[in-house]
Amino acid sequence: MTTAKELLRHEMMPHILCPGCGHGIVMNAMLRVLAKRHDNLDQVALVAGIGCSSRIVGYVDANTLHTTHGRALTFATGLKLARPELEVIVVTGDGDGLGIGGNHLIHAARRNVDLTCLLFNNETYGMTGGQLAPTTVKQAFTTTSPRGNTEPNFDAAALAKAAGASFVARGQAYRPDVLEEVMERALDHRGFSFVEVMTDCTEYFGRKNALGQGSDLLFTQSRSDQDVSRDLADWPTLRTPQGWQVRETQPLGVLHENERPTFEESLGLPGYSKREV
């Protein structure tokens, strides 16, 4: 059996992620899921936008496409329609997928293209230095909200569901075991699968909000096994030392799933049935 390690491009190491960042954990979960499903990744394409999360596709020994900011889903749509037999996974971040790429997200969901979209949500623009993101909650400090954020934030999963995604889930970097199960179900699902993964940016978001160092921010995602086993348990609200809430309670697990014709089926694309499920 293939191991996750064998699916890495070792020559691309060291990676760019900061100590304490949850992205590597999410990537590992994804690799373990892929290792279970494939001997090699010849028939898997990873398509990413711009940002910290999007850089991880380069570390995977697959057909990897690092595109422009926010537009990974459009490249993935063209690629998937050209090669419907491929398993296409889109890796995006909260700024990438909900800010500059929000329009593409809702339309990919509406079309129900058979893609799996993993949105890494670290509540900030990490690569550019920790600026305000569409997912930053009210009052949180970022490098462009020095007096605390005054804008409401998106609920990415609710947005994807409303736009027509036929599979919507939320996982967290803190529980890669649960995340793996969610990712497997997302990949099995035929149609647009959206997985929001709560991860963390300790280097910028954590520092700006005095939320500790190293893995402290990641540990704030902690929940009891009992909660996790109930699948839809809430995760903790997070407050700064001053008592301001910088993370809202959000449900986790598979939030929505239905069956409707995929875009590929509606177009009658030959070759689509070859995709293994």
Partner: protein, 383 residues
């Protein structure tokens, strides 16, 4: 024997694309290019291809690049405002070396401008619209039949040199109908992409250039696993900030386009002894040809130089072709864009005049004929 038909430039573009083996179209509606989308939405699926209407122009070209990476001939069609939105992905396709065709049916700008009136205002946008230094390819047909033929050439250039190609024509050419007998390209007239060098494996180099300086990428899903990025990258496709590598890549991507002007030489009409020359492309060249004939009747040694490739420019060839000209009038439906190329290429002794017409009305034969005697023209050289 081809059948004679009465069709528009936009129709000819769609038919030329189908004859070239187009298999993917991703587009967004915009006047005056929409007929290309409409025709392909009907005919492309019947030819075994995929038509998808995307949510905007960034998405359109993104989907085209994705499909091209899947191995298909892919294109989109747009007009000025959409062309502006596509600049980001034109730059991406240049650096990542993904073949694709963007058709730009030009209307009056800036901004929404005059959506249905002709213009040639996007010439410099095609050259410099995307950020950074990059070589660009822009072809300019002047008749319905030539739209068809240059669409085929555009795909060929895109595939052989692995580059985005812009086919640009004004609204007059797009909507004008002409009786044509179209000759579909023979299979051997369709150029293929460079084949990947080497077998899949750890030593595979997707971005190792061939002798023409062109990367030799396979398609995704063909059993090679490789990385594609809009970051500067080494031969494996892996990101690099090495200044020498960046510099060499920029130079290679521009240099690989050098053969194009010789593949599609300019049309030279009554040029052999001409000392008064119109330089014009697209719809303007059609009236310039009539002006040449009228001037010849008056005994003026007039000629027409009509570039079919606006970018890249072979300056030495341009200088040689116009060596006998004493006066060169560059007539365009803009405030003077390609005239800057001509003025830069020619020696100071040549009198280069810009006739730039804006407003959304086509240039007429009378206007161009009148220029020959008009002494009150704006001289590019004198300013």
């Amino acid at each position: 024997m081809a059948k004679r038909e009465l069709i528009s430039g936009n129709e000819a573009c769609a038919l030329g694309a189908l004859a070239s083996g187009l298999r993917f179209f991703g587009g967004y509606p915009i006047s005056p290019s929409s007929e290309i989308s409409e025709i392909l939405s009907s005919r492309l699926p019947r030819a075994g291809g995929v038509f998808v209407q995307m949510e905007d122009e960034m998405a359109s070209l993104g989907s085209v690049i994705g499909a091209s990476l899947g191995g298909l001939r892919a294109m989109t069609a747009t007009s000025g405002p959409g062309f502006t939105l596509m600049q980001e992905h034109l730059g991406y396709a240049s650096l990542a070396e993904i073949p694709c065709l963007v058709v730009d049916v030009m209307r009056v700008g800036p901004s929404t401008g005059v959506p249905t009136a002709p213009s040639q205002g996007d010439v410099m946008q095609a050259r410099w619209g995307s950020h950074g230094d990059r070589g660009t390819v822009a072809l300019s047909p002047a008749s319905v039949e030539e739209v068809y033929n240059l669409t085929v050439h555009a795909f060929n250039i895109a595939d052989r040199l692995r580059t985005p190609v812009v086919l640009m024509f004004d609204e007059v050419i797009g909507h004008m109908r002409e009786g044509v007998e179209l000759t579909p390209p023979a299979p051997e007239d369709l150029w293929a992409r460079p084949r990947p060098a080497g077998a899949p494996g750890p030593d595979f180099r997707a971005y190792a250039p061939n002798e023409q300086g062109v990367a030799q990428l396979p398609a995704f899903g063909d059993g090679y696993r490789f990385h594609v990025t809009g970051l500067f990258h080494d031969e494996r496709g892996y990101p690099s900030t090495n200044p020498d590598l960046v510099r060499q890549t920029i130079e290679r991507l521009e240099r690989k386009l050098d053969p194009i002007p010789a593949w599609l030489p300019p049309e030279k009409y009554r040029m052999s002894d001409a000392d008064f020359v119109y330089v014009a492309y697209g719809a303007v060249s059609r009236v310039a040809r009539e002006a040449v004939d009228r001037l010849r009747e008056q005994g003026v040694a007039a000629g027409l130089y009509r570039p079919r490739v606006l970018w890249p420019v072979d300056e030495a060839a341009l200088r040689k072709d116009l060596a006998k000209a004493r006066t060169v009038v560059v007539a365009e439906m803009n405030r003077g864009q390609w005239v800057q190329v001509v003025a830069q290429a020619l020696p100071p002794a040549t009198h280069v005049v810009s006739y730039g017409k804006t407003g959304g009305e086509p240039v007429t034969t009378d206007e161009l004929y009148g220029i020959a005697a008009d002494l009150n023209l704006r001289s590019v050289k004198s300013s």
